[in-house]
Amino acid sequence: MNDRAKDPLKPVFNESGIEVKPLYTQADVEASGGLDMLGQPGEYPFTRGIHRLMYRKQPWTMRQYAGFGNPAETNKRFKYLIANGQTGLNVAFDLPTQIGLDSDDPLAEGEIGRVGMSIDTLRDFEVAFDGIDLNKITVSLTINGAAAILIAMYLAMAEKRGYDVKQLRGTAQNDILKEFIGRGTWIFPVEPSIRLVGDTIEYCAEHAPKYSPVSVCGYHIRESGANPAQEMAYAFCIAKAYADDVIKRGLHVDEFAGRLSYNFNIFGNLFEQVAKFRAGRGLWAKIMKEEYGAEKPGSMWLRMIAAGGGGGLTFEQPEINIVRGAYYALISALSGTQTMALCSYDEAYTIPTEYSARISLRTMQLLIEEMGLTETVDPLAGSFYVETLTNEMRRKMEEIMAETDAQGGIVKLVSEGAIQSKVSAQAYQMQRDIESGKFPKVGVNCYRNEQEEEHPVQFHPYNEEDTRVQIDGLNKVRAERDAERVKKALARVGADAAAGRNVMPALVDAVKAYASVGEMTKELVKVFGRYQEPIRF
């Protein structure tokens, strides 16, 4: 299938457009810039890892994406994953929650609890995290458009349960700019959306300094069609846009940058991925130190979840995705990630069942227990190929960032739909190349089964009953809460949004009064309006 064998000297390029030579030597390392950016693990520029001992001290956190139905069912799945050795939670919300609709909103019909758990009020969070020790299990909320509200809700829930919010760890995805590029759970227009991200960073810096309010996602930009170098370059541009918003408010970079984190994607060429992460660590440290004047090492760290991406998995021969997932986990471990997750093998069919989620978890566990991947830091360092490629990937990312800035910056390009159009055109070309066989994909355009077998995929059942239970629960909360207090708290949300004050204190107050996600969103929409998607091809 691979026609390279016909002409071994024909130039080969990786997805990021870098030529891959048949052999690398010391001379290539020198020609690509040498080892100036290598350093030692735990030392600037952190190319080899952000900690000195890395996994020797603590293996990566395992955090499978989970959540469905109502909070009580999701609580059971959380406990199942924890009982099976998962060390963090990555919470999936249903689409109504993600875009700020209550479960009784007509637009939410048919979507309650389908792709994640449904959350209306603080009561739901109390149920979802019941019996889970928030000091032992760090929780990551995959929420973006409605992130400010759900962060407020998480902090309020923890406080109510007696945790010291100042010591509370956890993460919210809260990366709205990438939602405009891919994933699509936006609510408000671009400018107020960035302001809300700034509000959460500013608020957490003061009130929840160990909480990570943002996880900037290259992941979904890659899923939308970006190549690996673009994935990381655009994510850095986006992180800088958030940092700039916060710095404008008078904060010093060292007051918040240590709590910025990242979410990146893994599929495709192994060496290109590893070089991407190593290059990215050095580049981000350099940006923080040289452009932003960061002094604390923590502000320069590229802390990340590196997750096996759904974009690499196939509908055909789904069981082969288990093998792909194992390689993605291997890449993630070789790349020095802090947290790992894998799309399960049935990703192209359904949300994961307990069975498929457990396979993903076991995949990561066996890397820790059987493969020796936690014993030595940055084991691929010093490879002529990996070091050369790391230098070349870093240069590529710098070029993409410079080009983005020259075209007016990431905020402008996203607002106009230019980035969306660019990555979508690339996704189209990639799909064409897969269909023509130019880009090999096992089971899809080569090594196909003559007769596709019955797929060994179990479907996660969707429970229609969940909708009624969820709406009944919401009505019960509405009937029991202090209506006057809710009204006042919601009015304050609107007033603070309109006055340009940080809305987080008002949101925390409203959450504690059991105001619903939909009610708070409506107050913000009154002030900010709604995003209009630019359609551009």
Binding site: Q98, G184, T185, T350, Y462, I535, F537
Partner: protein
């Protein structure tokens, strides 16, 4: 020149490609838009978060030949159940209704019953989609 002229006497196939409901996965929809355009069709892409009412109205107003949905978040059956009577009320039942995305095999018969005769689950090829539309759209367009 002559070939171009004769082609222009028949109207190009006009497709409405819609993202139903709250689903935000638009990578697939957008690549299919490009594939249909490259195949010479005129495509109106709605963007995300379309209600059944909005899709029926656009299909009528734009006088399209094909009504195509892209659904990856699992709500295709309830959505199409709401959309069908609205399309019928607008006398759009003679148009071609197609759907693509994350559509489990067990749902295909229900989708056909709802009038979505062209079903293209994840992994479908561009050619299969283009050929299906060309072969099944009304004769007055090409």
């Amino acid at each position: 020149m002559t070939a171009q002229k004769s082609a222009s006497t028949a109207r190009r196939i006009k497709v409405l490609l819609a993202k139903p409901g709250l689903d935000g996965h638009d990578q697939g929809a957008k690549v299919v838009v490009r594939a249909l355009m490259d195949a010479g069709m005129e495509v109106i892409y709605t963007g995300l978060r379309q209600t059944p009412e909005a899709i029926a109205r656009m299909a009528l107003d734009e006088d399209v030949d094909v009504i195509a949905l892209s659904s990856l978040a699992g709500s295709h059956i309830p959505f199409c159940t709401k959309l069908k009577p609205l399309l019928e009320a607008n006398h759009l039942q003679d148009k071609l209704w197609v759907i693509g995305g994350n559509l489990p095999a067990q749902d295909h018969e229900a989708l056909r019953q709802l009038g979505f005769t062209g079903i293209f689950p994840t992994g479908s090829k561009f050619d299969a989609i283009v050929d299906y539309i060309r072969n099944n759209v009304k004769d007055s367009v090409q």
